[in-house]
């Protein structure tokens, strides 16, 4: 019986070793393919236009966030990491934060984006952005309905005539569509996804709600060349 077990044991060990090796190689290949891309037209596309930007225009690294105001993961990242990121990278002038919509949760996501841009036209984009994440509830549960978004605007003391005109006129639809297409082109498969564009156009992708320390490490990598 002991003799019969020996080949079986060898087979099991070999199977385990092969499985671990396959996992290791797959991980290595994936990392090589995704970690850092060379300068490309994607970098210029990500920086094109004048999206809402937080921080100094002279910051050498631009952090482009693709998110959806109805996405719970984006809300989780906002509540646990964004303040730390702003404090350590944006306030210190090392990086600036750019918002681009990647609305896929439903029509209320698009409404929320439109309302944020309408607030942005009165210089209150980031205040409205904060208010949306602070009030996020179940996706498509009505918290980002047109009426509620108008209430948020009133809460911020915006000029309501101007806000309603901008919000209801479909003024931001092309921008929202462009952002979505850009996200697809950049390979966004989840929200939030961040593209860190360095001074030489190199890009580091951070997919998912990763901790602020990862951003610090990536910014250091991009600025060190």
């Amino acid at each position: 019986m002991a003799h019969a077990d020996k080949p079986n044991r060898k087979k099991t060990i070999a199977f385990g070793v092969v499985l671990l090796a396959v996992m290791f190689v797959a991980y290595g290949g994936w990392r090589l393919g995704q970690s850092s891309s060379p300068a490309s037209s994607l970098a210029s596309a990500l920086l094109a236009g004048s999206p809402p930007t937080l921080g100094s225009t002279n910051a050498s690294v631009t952090i482009v966030e693709f998110g959806d105001y109805q996405c719970p993961t984006c809300e989780g990242w906002y509540n646990t990491q964004e303040a730390f990121l702003v404090q350590s990278l944006v306030d210190t002038g090392k990086a600036k934060l750019v918002w681009r919509d990647f609305d896929f949760y439903g029509p209320d996501s698009v409404l929320a984006s439109e309302a944020a841009y309408a607030a942005g036209d009165q210089g209150m984009f980031w205040r409205f952005h904060d208010l949306l994440f602070q009030n996020q509830r179940t996706p498509n549960g009505g918290w980002a309905s047109r009426q509620n978004l108008i209430k948020f605007a009133q809460q911020l003391g915006l000029n309501m005539t101007e806000f309603n005109q901008d919000f209801n006129g479909g003024k931001y639809d092309p921008l929202i569509d462009t952002n979505h297409s850009l996200g697809v082109q950049a390979g966004v498969t989840q929200t939030p996804t961040f593209f860190l564009v360095g001074p030489n156009g190199k890009i580091v992708t951070i997919a998912g709600p990763q901790p602020e320390s990862v951003f610090e490490q990536a910014v250091a990598q991009l600025t060190s060349g």
């Binding site: 099991t12 996992m23 989840q190």
Partner: protein
């Protein structure tokens, strides 16, 4: 040799060794889909304060999947070797696969983002995502039942034949 197939399985070094890659691979997949583990740009393990409940369920699911799959494989190997007739091994593997597949609903919103599926399937994914804790609890229960059944499968019940006692006494 004890009467418990679970204990017997893990007394055997080769099955303990087999359980390790199963647990590592399944745990990594689960933690990755739950966005606790990130491979890019750096290998990062991060659990936000709101994710502790989910992490505990992931660990439990991983351990139970490793246990059920390994014990089931052993049962199947014994069955093939003619040392048992239980079909519980195959049932255990099926249960582990079903329970293990539960977290795959995470893929639906991802596919919806990529525009690879229609809006309806994406919406189902988003809905399922909101129920991830109850779905995982159901998967844990399924695996617990499988573990119980697997453990019971090793107990050989000896049925005492019914004898006509009075006749014997008369003799």
């Amino acid at each position: 040799m004890s009467a418990s197939p679970v204990v017997d399985t893990f007394r055997d070094a080769k099955y303990t060794l087999l359980a390790m890659p199963i647990i590592v691979a399944y745990g990594m997949i689960l933690l990755f889909f739950d966005q606790f583990l990130f491979f890019t740009p750096y290998f990062t393990l991060y659990v936000p304060p709101s994710g502790v409940e989910n992490l505990a369920l992931d660990i439990l699911l991983t351990a139970l999947t490793g246990l059920v799959l390994t014990v089931s494989i052993r049962q199947l190997v014994l069955q093939r070797g003619g040392r048992g007739t239980s079909r519980v091994g195959a049932v255990g593997i099926i249960a582990a696969v079903i329970a293990g597949a539960c977290p795959c609903y995470y893929l639906l919103p991802l596919l919806a983002v990529a525009g690879a599926v229609g809006g309806a399937l994406g919406a189902v994914g988003i809905l399922l995502n909101a129920f991830q804790v109850p779905i995982k609890v159901a998967a844990v229960l399924l695996l617990l039942v499988s573990t119980y059944k697997l453990n019971k499968s090793g107990v050989c019940k000896i049925r005492t034949p019914v004898r006509n006692v009075s006749k014997t006494q008369n003799l």
